[in-house]
């Protein structure tokens, strides 16, 4: 910029430079906040995990990397259980959420907004109060077991509360909207004419395929439920396979498998991430609905921080949980791109 340049050009170039810094001015405060209170704490947590000492005599930085194999081997069963519970809850939420999202998106009609509203309505109630409500519903003489026991259909000693089943059911319930909403958003975007076109091009009801897909899906689900809950597996697999095959035979059409499902993939990925991540880290459901043998890694982290005040071990476990999830998410991000991820995120 020289003094001789005409005023118009000066104004234009000033506006240009202002446009160049404008995004950074807008970004700076928020990103700074995230850097100080998200990135820095993550690093600090890693450093704390390398401390040795205890709360009475104080802590000292000793670069004790040995804490990682130690914590992993000591708490391996809790880690495995968290992944199992979280994974099963995600699968169940998908099985429950997909037909719900499909029904709202394709058959909602005039009730679409009301149904969507009912899906998010649980969020307006405290997470803790909802989980406590499940405690009431699943209680030994509660809404589910009470009538069955009174009718003599169930032995009075049968329990739901304080079992792994209750924990998985609680997690599935609490995160079902996180699965349903992204699925709905993805399904809603699909141009219905594509499905009609597929049908015009002889995409039929797909009976044998539907039977197989439904049967295998139901069977796998039954296997997982039976295995994780520690019940005998065979009846679960049989019931799952027969139920799945029945539903699949009549409801899974060729157009659904070949057109609808592939187009809904971004929603499926976003929904499963949004369900699986909080599910793996959850400790409220295990604490309120579970028993001492059905605790998750979140329970260990919470107790180690706030009850036994063993900061290094707690930080190590917490860092492992974060690292494992972030690696998974980053791999997924590479596959789909960040814009799409934040776009379908909520």
């Amino acid at each position: 910029m020289t003094a001789a340049s005409p005023p118009i050009a000066t104004r234009a170039s000033r506006r240009f430079s202002r446009r160049a810094i404008a995004p950074y001015v807008l970004l700076a405060p928020g990103l700074l906040w995230l850097a100080i209170f998200y990135i820095y704490p993550a690093i600090q947590m890693f450093l704390v995990s390398l401390w040795t000492g205890n709360i009475e005599s104080g802590y000292e930085m000793t670069f004790n990397f040995g804490i990682y194999p130690e914590a992993l081997s000591q708490y391996w069963p809790w880690i495995v259980r968290s992944v199992e519970y979280g994974g099963l809850a995600t699968l169940l939420a998908f099985a429950l959420g997909l037909p719900l999202a499909y029904a709202i998106a394709f058959r909602g009609g005039q009730y679409k907004n009301i149904l969507l509203f009912l899906v998010i309505a649980p969020f307006f109630t405290s997470f803790l109060l909802r989980t406590i409500s499940w405690k009431i519903i699943l209680a030994d003489d509660g809404l589910v077991l009470g009538p069955l026991k009174e009718a003599g259909l169930l032995d009075p000693s049968v329990r739901l509360l304080a079992t792994p089943a209750a924990v998985v059911a609680g997690i599935t319930y609490n995160f079902l909207p996180f699965m349903t909403l992204p699925l709905y958003v993805a399904l809603e975007k699909i141009d219905k004419r594509l499905i009609e076109a597929a049908e015009d091009l002889y995409a039929g009801p797909w009976r044998p395929g539907g039977t197989i897909v439904g049967g295998v899906g139901g069977g796998v689900m039954g296997l997982l439920i039976g295995a994780i809950m520690g019940y005998s597996i065979l009846p679960f697999v049989l019931v799952g396979a027969v139920g799945g095959a029945l539903i699949g035979t009549f409801l899974i059409s060729e157009a659904f498998i070949r057109v609808t499902l592939p187009l809904a993939l971004p929603g499926i990925f976003a929904g499963s991430l949004l369900t699986f991540i909080p599910a793996v880290g959850d400790f409220i459901n295990a604490e309120l609905l579970g028993n001492p043998q059905a605790q998750m890694i979140g329970n260990v982290i919470q107790a180690r921080y706030l009850k036994t005040v063993d900061y290094p071990t707690a930080s190590a476990l917490s860092f492992i949980l974060m690292a494992a999830i972030l690696i998974g998410v980053l791999v997924y991000t590479k596959l789909l791109g960040t814009e799409q991820l934040t776009g379908t995120g909520v």
């Binding site: 995004p23 209170f37 309505a121 109630t125 707690a314 991000t333």
Partner: protein
């Protein structure tokens, strides 16, 4: 209603199967949708029902008798009023700050091309994809470790206080605000801003007279989301609260001894106010959309 299985109507080979499929298709999905939403609402209904309970003992786990006692005295438990007030203060401040910071980021992301875009998107996404317990735990360790840092004023971050809760809530709210506002900003009519500038408005005037009114519905939606996340947060708050009580922390403490009916009353009040707020803002957004965007679509088409 264009049935997905309509292709089968032409064939007559398996009439029973076809009819069954048609019935399933027409009735099963709506019945399922009804059952699934009922399942989602059931715990909320239980919470509301039990706010009218008159429990005999300490625990409010069995319905004994209809009573309005708790409704007539909703804060009648020691510490409950303070906890609710703290929750409201924390949610209000956290919502205000995170909505401003998040909206600024969303504006930058949608309206400008700049270096570091992908890194910014990733930084926004990371807190949403970190389990809450890790967010809380890492904040706790850094607040404790801040004692050793020379440039942090003593007592600012440690001992933990209502201040540290607010800091934490702003942090996890920002990403949700960005995502919500961004979703509303896509498809934003840029030519209106250009028109305002062509007519001599400064950038500042253009923003407040044109841009802001147009993005306001998105900003309000984001603020509502931030407020509801903040007022309900238990996990992160439990790590950053110290001796401060909030409503969720009060519930957690009480659930070990037996929850007073008043907790259900306040839960119900929060639920009903949230529902009313959402209905009101939806109606308002429809009016705004009808006023602002209807003429635009006719011009464009």
């Amino acid at each position: 209603m264009t049935a997905v299985t309509a292709a089968g109507a032409a064939t007559t080979s398996r009439p029973t199967g076809q009819r069954l499929a048609r019935i399933l298709d027409r009735w099963l999905l709506p019945i399922y949708a009804g059952a699934a939403t009922a399942y989602l609402i059931l715990p909320v209904a239980v919470m509301i029902l039990f706010s009218f309970n008159d429990p005999t003992g300490r625990s409010n786990l069995n319905f004994r008798q209809f009573s309005l006692d708790a409704w007539l005295n909703p804060l009648g438990r020691p510490g409950l009023g303070d906890a609710v007030l703290n929750s409201l203060i924390i949610a209000a401040i956290a919502t205000l700050v995170s909505t401003i910071l998040g909206t600024m980021i969303a504006l930058a992301l949608v309206r400008y091309g700049f270096r570091g875009r992908n890194a910014t998107n990733l930084l926004i996404f990371l807190p949403m994809s970190t389990p809450e317990i890790v967010l809380g735990a890492s904040l706790l360790t850094s607040f404790i470790a801040s004692v050793q840092l020379p440039f942090v004023p003593e007592g600012l971050l440690y001992p933990l206080s209502i201040r540290t809760i607010v800091i934490a809530h702003i942090m996890f709210n920002i990403s949700y605000v960005v995502v919500t506002v961004k979703a509303r900003l896509t498809g934003f009519p840029r030519h209106l801003e250009e028109a305002a500038m062509d007519l001599g408005a400064t950038e500042w005037t253009t923003f407040w007279k044109v841009t802001f009114p147009l993005i306001l519905p998105g900003v309000v939606a984001a603020a509502l989301l931030a407020f509801s996340l903040s007022i309900d947060d238990f996990v992160v708050t439990s790590f950053t609260s110290g001796a401060t009580q909030t409503f969720p922390l009060y519930i957690y403490g009480a659930q070990l001894r037996g929850i007073p009916v008043q907790v259900n009353v306040i839960g119900t009040i929060i639920f009903v106010s949230a529902v009313l707020l959402v209905i009101l803002t939806t109606l308002w957004q429809r009016r705004v959309a009808a006023r602002d965007f209807a003429p635009l679509t006719t011009i464009e088409s």
